[in-house]
């Protein structure tokens, strides 16, 4: 888990620099500070379980196993990207490892996740889907409709709310009158709050929810309280958040916490350093792959509109 959290952090830091250099195009919504959520959740899933993601998908994709090469190539708008340069940052994904291309409409993944769960149920499969969304999503109609359908049909879905307390710049207290996990009661499903910066806590809560889903007992809503230590998107300096609050959360950095706990449990410093060095090398390789890859042909824009050429 430490390996994946470090891979996410370093990937995001590198992407930010590449964005400033103009090599990564468009916009980016970054995941620094929330790594324990993606990694804790995805560690509790099997490879053939699926996730749905959001406009902030890099961490989810890395945790679910999307190769960094193809992710970086996608950000560089190259034909070798995981979405063949059709998706970009906000639609990152790779269905072959269970990462549905990310859905950048807030709460858009909630109803789709219910449908994916319905498919698994009809297929008599014990697969589950973990559906990531932010605190802003719980006030969308799609959240209510999807959560309600999943609950009434007992579908194998785990709803993961990454509560970072701000919907873009709007603080949660202006939008959400009750705790997010409390919403679960409205659907008659378990709702739990976990420390989203404690990867072990996220993992444990997800294991419980996944087991319940696999048993056919239906969804769980897990509210992971966390914080993005960077802006909402490119160029957001986060001026709407008190400095003290940001500092407080930086003290709770999930990677630092895990590192301390690993060392307390007897892990060697040099082992941890080796994991970090390996992540650096992997990211450098990914950048080299992306830089050396070819852009798509302009006419490729006309492919994949109607599902032709897709293997049934």
């Amino acid at each position: 888990m430490y390996r994946d959290m470090i891979r996410i952090r370093k990937f995001e830091e590198k992407v930010y620099l590449l964005f400033l250099e103009g090599k990564v195009l468009g916009t980016i919504h970054q995941y620094q500070g929330q790594e324990a959520v993606a990694v804790g959740v995805c560690s509790a899933l099997r490879r053939n379980d699926c996730i749905t993601s959001t406009h902030r998908p890099h961490g989810h994709c890395i945790a679910k196993g999307v190769p960094l090469d193809s992710m970086m190539a996608e950000l560089f708008a190259k034909s070798t990207g995981c979405c063949k340069a059709k998706g970009g940052s906000m639609h990152m994904g790779d269905i072959s490892v269970g990462a549905v291309p990310a859905i950048a409409i807030v709460a858009g993944g909630v109803t789709l996740a219910a449908g994916m769960g319905l498919a698994y149920k009809l297929q008599r499969s014990d697969r589950v889907v973990a559906c990531f969304f932010g605190d802003g999503a719980v006030n969308e109609g799609a959240f209510h409709e999807g959560a309600n359908l999943a609950a009434i049909k007992k579908l194998p879905v785990v709803f993961i709310c990454e509560n970072n307390f701000y919907a873009a710049s709007t603080p949660m207290q202006l939008t959400t009158p009750v705790g997010i996990a409390e919403r679960a009661a409205a659907y008659g499903i378990p709702g739990v709050v976990v420390d989203g910066n404690d990867v072990a806590a996220v993992y444990q809560a997800t294991v419980t929810a996944v087991a319940r889903a696999r048993r056919g007992e239906g969804p769980t809503l897990i509210e992971c309280q966390t914080y993005r230590t960077v802006g909402h998107s490119r160029g957001d300096a986060g001026t709407y958040r008190p400095k003290e609050e940001v500092e407080l959360w930086k003290q709770r950095d999930p990677i630092e916490r895990l590192r301390r706990s690993l060392i307390a449990d007897g892990a060697a410093e040099n082992e941890i350093a080796a994991i970090e060095a390996e992540a650096d090398r992997e990211i450098e390789t990914a950048v080299a792959f992306a830089e050396s890859s070819l852009p798509p042909q302009p006419e490729d824009a006309l492919l994949h509109v109607y599902g032709e050429g897709v293997t049934p």
Binding site: T111, A114, G115, A119, E145, V310
Partner: protein, 340 residues
Amino acid sequence: MKRLSIAEALREAMREEMLRDERVFLIGEDIGIPQGFGGAFTVTLGLSDEFGHERVVDTPISEKAIVGAAVGAAMMGMRPIADVQYSDFLFCAADEIINQAAKMTYMSGGTVKVPMVLRAPVGATNRGAQHAQSPEGFFMHVPGWKVAVPATAYDAKGLLKTAVRDEGPVLIFEHKRLYGKGGRKEAGGLDLTSGIPDEDYCIPFGQAVVRREGADLTIVATLLMMHRSLAAADLLAQEGINIEVIDPRTLVPFDNETMLASVAKTGKLLIVEEDNLTGGWGAEVAARVADSGFDLLDAPIKRLASYDVPMPFAPVLENFVVPSVDRIIELARAMVKGKV
């Protein structure tokens, strides 16, 4: 060979596809409730008795969840047929239809497919403005969706089967007044049946049908307006005016060739649609003919559509707004006589 109404033909298509392919299932409101409606227009009546409530999934009144769940299930290898009761309710699920279903294959670089069918009844039937629209044009505009508009029972069955087997999302617009005998009787509804072959058949998308041949004027029309155009053509024939009526059967893909071949013969094109005039599918069709068939025309292209107002309730108002057989006759006659 037997004769079925559109409602019966759609039901038979769904039943046969469910028997043929266990991935096919139905999802919607009021579709499988015991002693219930079988959908708003009886199309799914009895299917839950045969296939059980697992494959005929009754949902809350949650159009976003119905369409979103169909998208999600289709992505995971199922073949959902979703039903929203009235096409007006498609707008509740605009995000799922336009941002999710239509774009998922594209955004994934072709690796994720969304083989789903979405059924939506259209047409004005004295229900007021929110259960009356014919919004085919809205969705024809969205790259990613194919759009079918069956006007006969034969086409309804064959097009629905093609839709179920398609690798991408397909919208089927069915007309409330055309469900016919066996479906719920609509005031003024036509009692239409077709001969249905005993063997399995599919109708390829993008193949229009010439419903009636004629040399004086081409009418392109779908659904109820196609039937009204045929009725108008019958009456005009008594005056010696011969109308060719073309039913596109699918708006996406659209059979430009059949239409242009007809215009080459007649030199005149009238498009009749039930949607209101501005920005309807007829505008797109007119633009295409102006673009690639300008030299074939010897008169301006005309469109006859509902007026640009929300659909009113009162029959006297509704009948005024929606193109009638009389209005089709009047405009077609004037066009043939060179008076417009």
